[in-house]
Amino acid sequence: MDDQPPFDITPETVAGFARYAGYGYTRERIAELAPTLQELMAQLHALWDVPLGATEMALTLPTREIEP
């Protein structure tokens, strides 16, 4: 793998994923979604810099309480 993962949200790259996942998006619809998806993924990539240490993922479970 490259040091930096590809961040190339185009109708072509997303259409490949949609076919793999079995989603029935047209190429035109994917082109419409691309700008919003680009913005969302840019914000999610910014989260990669947050130090996580040994933190596990937050879970929504029955009677779960978040104690101070």
Binding site: Q43, L47, A58, E65, I66, P68
Partner: protein, 467 residues
Amino acid sequence: MSDDLCFASLSALAAQIAARRVSAVEVTRAVLARIERVGGALNCYITVNAEQALAQARALDALHAAGTSLGPLHGVPIALKDNIQTAGLRTTVGSEIYADWVPDADATVAARLRSAGAILIGKNNLYEFAFGAPHPRYGPVHNPWDTARSCAGSSSGSGSAVAAGLAYGALGTDTGGSVRLPAAYCGVVGLKPTYGRVSRAGVVPVSYNLDHVGPLTRGVRDAALVLAAIAGPDPADRTTSAAPLADYTAGLERGVRGLRLGVARRQADERMDRAVEEAAEQASRVLERAGAQLHAVDLPSYQHARAIMWGVSAVEGAEWHREHLRTRAADYHPVVRTNFEVGDFVPAVEYVHMQRVRQVMIDQMSALLREVDAILMPTTATPAHPIGAATVSVAGEAEPVLAALTRYTPLANVTGQPAVAVPCGFTDTGLPLSFQLLGRPFDEATVLRVARAYERETAWAARRPPL
């Protein structure tokens, strides 16, 4: 007289009904008449439940005459956001897809309000599926303080109706701020309780991890009364908690002397409207004069909250909406459709990463709330923007409306802690301003107590919109 009755506080009205100075039927007729008069200009109701509400009022008056009271909400008209299911009453979710849906059962919160004696006066307009924009079938809700302005969302109609005296309280839902944002724009109190404190059973979801149900009211005591009626464990919602319920009204008048209040320090790159900043600063000074100890605090990761709220909601929403998006995509507002469809393309690894960052933020806030009892910060970066605006000017720079709007509220959704939006003044042009108080999980009593201490020292709650 009729308008004075409509603008009475929920708690004052309940006392009048209990003392038989006014009947539930008289109150319901007064509210229905005011809805008839000004509701159309605000577009805050999708369904006005006139017939059932009057029948309910007559039944409640009969009970009262027989010496039975169902509690502090007996005979009080309350509205529900239209994503909360109501038995026998249309629940559109603000959508074309559910435009004619009449559920056969109440959501738990609706049933609890009925059991507490509340009259369900109607169903409030909202953003379609509580996520992004109003569907053109229903149109935007107008702000009672300036009808050319937005009420924000997604509980737009709930905020507008309560501010305009068209209900004594309303329930909204809050995934990234959707109770507190309309409360801020409309100048009312909006409470997002702790995750797990109030059942979401029977509420059409956006995000299983981030959705909350909470009240919008014209006063802090009123919010406490509504919370008391709807809070508590529910077998139908496995995320509800068995944590003990507080008496939410008992400590409201205790004041803030000795309480440690964290005041969020403004970040170097953080833009907000000057009026918002000054109002929040003045609010902290009011509380300091009332005896609170102020401590400047940093919220190191609050700026991540919006990304997590957006990403988690998109993914979870895409899953819930999968069938509708396949078969009825054209029936969605284009913005709402896009908001959900992008969730299909967020890798699962990113979803897990968001949940880990979320846990970091929960841990950070927990550590901070060992040092202070509550945290004060603005609710929104600006006052209400014009309806239809794509951008808003924040401290002289144009910014997308949604980015400015959701700067501060998603944090409490991501951490699950309680947060209450409190009116704290008006701009020179008469638009409401608001700050929010964030507290420890399951400690709604403290944030309400601080909010009430502020409310007692100021007179904002007495103002009425020009309608």
